[in-house]
Point group: C2
Chain length 343, copies 2
């Protein structure tokens, strides 16, 4: 039976992760879960972000379920670089999978787009680009200060995530992959991405392809999100585009995410796109749907496609039945989702 | 009297620039305009992108009015790096000014946002960041290929554009500046931007400030664009955010842009955000509004605030009177705008 590590984290993290576990237990009884205390609270208490021993223990699990980490009291970068990105890089989670659907029952912000009309997935590169941490500065705090950030891109890293995107497209109905980059300005990295894309596309003659600059893609996600099926892009562009995709499909409250090591050499990690939302933490009003959808991605990755599909269907039922404006109780939503999933 | 250089460019460029000149002539008779043939057509004919002699001549003008350059037949980067970015960098146009308003009469894509409710301006840095062209690659076309792009940020470059943003905010009603960056991942550049922002903010105690990560800002531009007044950000983030802002206010067909050297040591350059749109070129159906609004920014920069205001008011009248779906004739729109502007 699957062994998962649970990092509930800060703010609303524990509340929403509790519901995700409830739903996992309902559809796949017997999953062994071990909790790990990481995040802002631990950092403040002990000064530790991610001890090596914990990293080693996490490596021994089949997957990681993460709630949310972070708090305004922690300096920017500490938990991001020291925990989230550390895990993505250490566990070679090069596929950052972010599906966006406009579900029935959800009122998206776009007047012309109806539920059912958006169903896309962004395959964001997760281990390279500007996230490599290859930057520095000189003459700090003087008028002569200079600061750099370097985007590092390898054929190895680019090609494997593009191949993953094509493989996913082949399993979908429209079989279309859009490469998003900025080849007209970032000519070196852009050229590498474009050539790797063309090479992989040749292996998938049954998949349609297109290319868009990131600024155009950001625009089309607003004016015509239905045009996308699978989008593959670099780490930073993916960060931005997935938040736009979440916004046009009802907000990050519903957005799930998987940081995946497709070969399974290391554990993959699943987390809602939303943060720890300290303003509403502890009140039992956070929407657990994004965490539950992330749990569905986890189940799918571990080979339980059937259980995953039941969770996704439960979310569809839940959202279709929501009355807008009605108060939302985290626990109750979790109970309903678990109920739908086994019905 | 002002001397402007006109680069009509490719595709719909000449059509829309023609209307912009018509409107300028109407509100400020006697402007001396010299045409320069640059863009994809010249590149194909002569192999030249921007001869030094032309660059020197352009430098002698008070401002540059640009239509659009580019064509799918030109390899990515040639005209962008060789012409557009070359001009921005050579003429130290460090303020890339991009206002977005949801005009009366324009149906934006957002169900909940009404005309009049969005009125923001993005002050995008124009001479640094990932646009510096500081990248390279090794082992090209082998499995060992690596490609880099470097973001270069100086205190000098960052501080001056932030100061410009605060000065503009002070002249607006809400007096608010939002800094957008990604300080939690791009920690070196992010820290430089954040510290420069705090230092400049101290000079403007009457201006409200806030900070947002670029992914959050991309989302809020869709879910709540009304919250923004002046947004200041780096070159690449500004490229993406301004296309989102254009999308939520009716599309890049209406979006104006100025590449400004505020000190006036070099000519500033004004251009619609849209491209050359080869698919509709020559048919007289391109909307000249973005070019005409860019002309208004030009007039304002040259000290003709009054003429600029008349052009902007003419656009407001034109858009308020549009019947959605009615066919649009470039020439007729230009005539009407010129008429409104002098009425
Ligand atoms: C918290 C931050 C490091 C992270 C990212 O930039 O990847 C977040 O925005 C996300 O999208 O998962
Ligand atoms: C054409 C391209 C170089 C340019 C940019 O990236 O700045 C364009 O997208 C813009 O926004 O003006």
């Amino acid at each position: 039976m699957a062994r998962i590590a649970v990092v509930a984290g800060d703010g609303i993290g524990p509340e929403v992760v509790g519901q995700a576990r409830k739903v996992i237990d309902a559809v796949l009884p017997g999953v062994e879960a071990t909790e790990y205390d990481l995040g802002a609270a631990r950092y403040h208490r002990t000064g530790e972000v991610l001890p090596e021993s914990v990293l080693d223990e996490l490596a021994g699990h089949d997957a990681i379920l993460l709630g949310a980490v972070g708090d305004p009291t922690v300096p920017p970068g500490v938990l991001e670089r020291g925990l989230l990105l550390k895990l993505r890089f250490a566990f070679d989670q090069y596929v950052n999978l972010r599906p966006s659907r406009l579900w029935s029952g959800v009122a998206g912000p776009l007047a012309a787009v109806k539920p059912g009309e958006v169903d896309l997935v962004v395959v964001r590169e997760g281990t390279e680009g500007l996230y490599a941490g290859a930057g520095g500065s000189l003459h700090r705090d003087t008028p002569a200060e200079v600061a750099t950030e370097e985007s590092l891109n390898t054929r190895h890293g680019v090609e494997r995530v593009i191949r993953d995107a094509f493989a996913r497209a082949r399993r979908r109905e429209r079989r279309k992959v859009t490469l998003v980059h900025k080849t007209n300005v970032l000519t070196h990295a852009g050229s590498l991405w474009a050539r790797a894309f063309a090479a992989v596309a040749a292996e998938f003659p049954d998949v349609t392809t297109e290319y868009q600059h990131v600024d155009a893609a950001a625009m089309f996600l607003v004016t015509n999100p239905s045009r996308y099926d699978v989008v593959v892009t670099d780490n930073l562009f993916g960060d931005i585009l997935t938040d736009i995709a979440a916004a046009v499909t009802g907000g990050i409250g519903l957005a799930a995410s998987g940081c995946i090591n497709p070969e399974g050499r290391y554990p993959s990690m699943f987390e809602p796109v939303h943060g720890s939302a300290p303003d509403i933490a502890g009140r039992g009003v956070a929407d657990p749907v994004a965490a539950v959808l992330s749990a569905a991605l986890l189940l799918d990755q571990l080979g339980h496609a059937d259980a995953a599909a039941r969770v996704t269907a439960a979310v569809a039922t839940e959202l279709a039945g929501r009355t807008s404006g009605a108060p939302l109780r985290t626990e109750e939503v979790g109970d309903r989702l678990a109920g739908h999933a086994v019905a």
